[in-house]
Symmetry: C2
Subunit: 264 residues, 2 copies
């Protein structure tokens, strides 16, 4: 799967870059727009047990990631969407730990991990990007653990809705009207609740006038009320650092020397 650069690079861990000589001192990650992959609705991008070789960045579409425990239980661990990084869970063991499934027809950038490693080795920026992608996953998990152990169902659903709203806002969509791509069961699994509980609470929120639901179409009508239910402050979302996709949907890959030049 990884390009021809892969094995050549693994062999010589440090050293100067080898293939077509780079114009500047540092080879950028690659022309990323060439390396894409289509994933059709319902298809898995990768599955638990697959050998790990590449990272992915979502370019179009929505996904769910599923972790399964030793005893065979399956849980939704996240809903990756545009600009999210996928595949980090495979770095540790060399095999993916999660299934990642597309809700829609989707498209991802494919980043052979060997190239990412090289990039990280040769540029301070690359190193930072890779590390942050990993570290952000950690903080995200911690946040979610807190939700799962310390919040009541009402809080969880409110937090979920606000999180989805915030993520849509960041992508330039409306934060108050959007379509959920996942089923109530997916939401329940993600939040550690039964699907009936999710459904009931959505109905309840609607009766109270906080939201409007019709199937998977959601409109958030009363953010202050949802914030109150969630127990969080209005601005309590973690800051976004160094977005991975530019507004045009291209990968931002920054060379080392310059101070923030965006490559494409």
């Amino acid at each position: 799967m990884s390009g021809p650069a892969a094995k050549a690079l693994r062999a010589r861990p440090v050293a100067s870059a080898d293939p077509p000589a780079a114009p500047s001192s540092v080879t950028p990650l690659k022309p990323p727009n060439r390396m894409r992959r289509q994933v059709r609705r319902g298809e898995t991008l990768f599955g638990a047990g697959d050998t790990f070789g590449t990272l992915f960045v979502v370019r179009v579409g929505f996904f769910k990631s599923l972790a399964s425990s030793a005893n065979g239980q399956v849980q939704v661990t996240g809903f990756p969407m545009v600009a999210d990084v996928l595949g980090l869970d495979g770095i540790d063991t060399g095999f993916h730990q999660c299934d990642v499934v597309a809700f829609d027809n989707a498209e991802v950038f494919v980043l052979p991990f060997a190239e990412c490693e090289q990039w990280a080795r040769e540029t301070a920026h690359g190193q930072r990007m890779l590390r942050r992608a990993l570290a952000r996953e950690i903080t995200r998990s911690h946040d979610h653990m807190l939700l799962l152990s310390a919040a009541r169902a009402e809080q969880r659903v409110a937090i979920f809705l606000l999180d989805m709203a915030e993520r849509h806002r960041r992508l330039g969509d409306s934060r108050s009207r959007f379509a959920l791509r996942m089923t109530r069961q997916d939401i329940g699994s993600y939040l550690g609740l039964q699907l009936e509980t999710v459904s009931r609470l959505l109905s309840h929120f609607q009766r109270e006038g906080f939201i409007q639901v019709q199937g998977r179409e959601i409109a958030l009508l009363d953010f202050p009320a949802l914030w109150r239910l969630s127990g969080h402050a209005p601005d309590s979302h973690r800051p976004m650092v160094e977005p991975i996709l530019d507004p045009q949907g291209n990968l931002t890959v920054v060379a080392d020397g310059g101070s923030g030049l965006t490559h494409m």
Copy 2:
């Protein structure tokens, strides 16, 4: 709070190591045994909001790590013990997200992060170690999320006991008799339960003859029963890759050229 090395290193992120020049072409991580730090019982190794500058590896002692949410809730996210890596949560933002508190008088290796970065940049092994430390944290979080959302109280406590047993075994202690360092409340917080529930279940397990409890002294008497309760297979623990401490309690830092030489 972090030692004197911290700010000096933050200032010069890359560059060659500063103190005594390294003999070989690749500077090993450092003479690690010199960089240690004592933490007294009840002291915090670092706290949420502290500027991140160093990683730590536990050499002696037991800790708890605490995450706090935006709304002020606090949860125990883990019980680091010997050979565990601490401080990874600060990489993302540059500030620590957790408090880490010592249960006993403890001692940690101090790894200035700038040196870790350099090590990771210059050696394939270093890169792998850092990445794996991060990635393992991710898989650990996923496992814990599964526990928090999908397991019943009885399961959670059984899993907790088996996990503690396994970790003690790996450190060369008895896996069937050990002392819990944390309070019932800490356990409850970690497992997403109330302290009374933990206490009740421990008593219950004892009545059934699965364990023997007296305060914090625990003896596991019937592993098959606990495995059954936990819903896991006997061997369901993730494999250990490349231990960070050797049997003598020294950091294993491997230079790039050799194929597994242990430094000290």
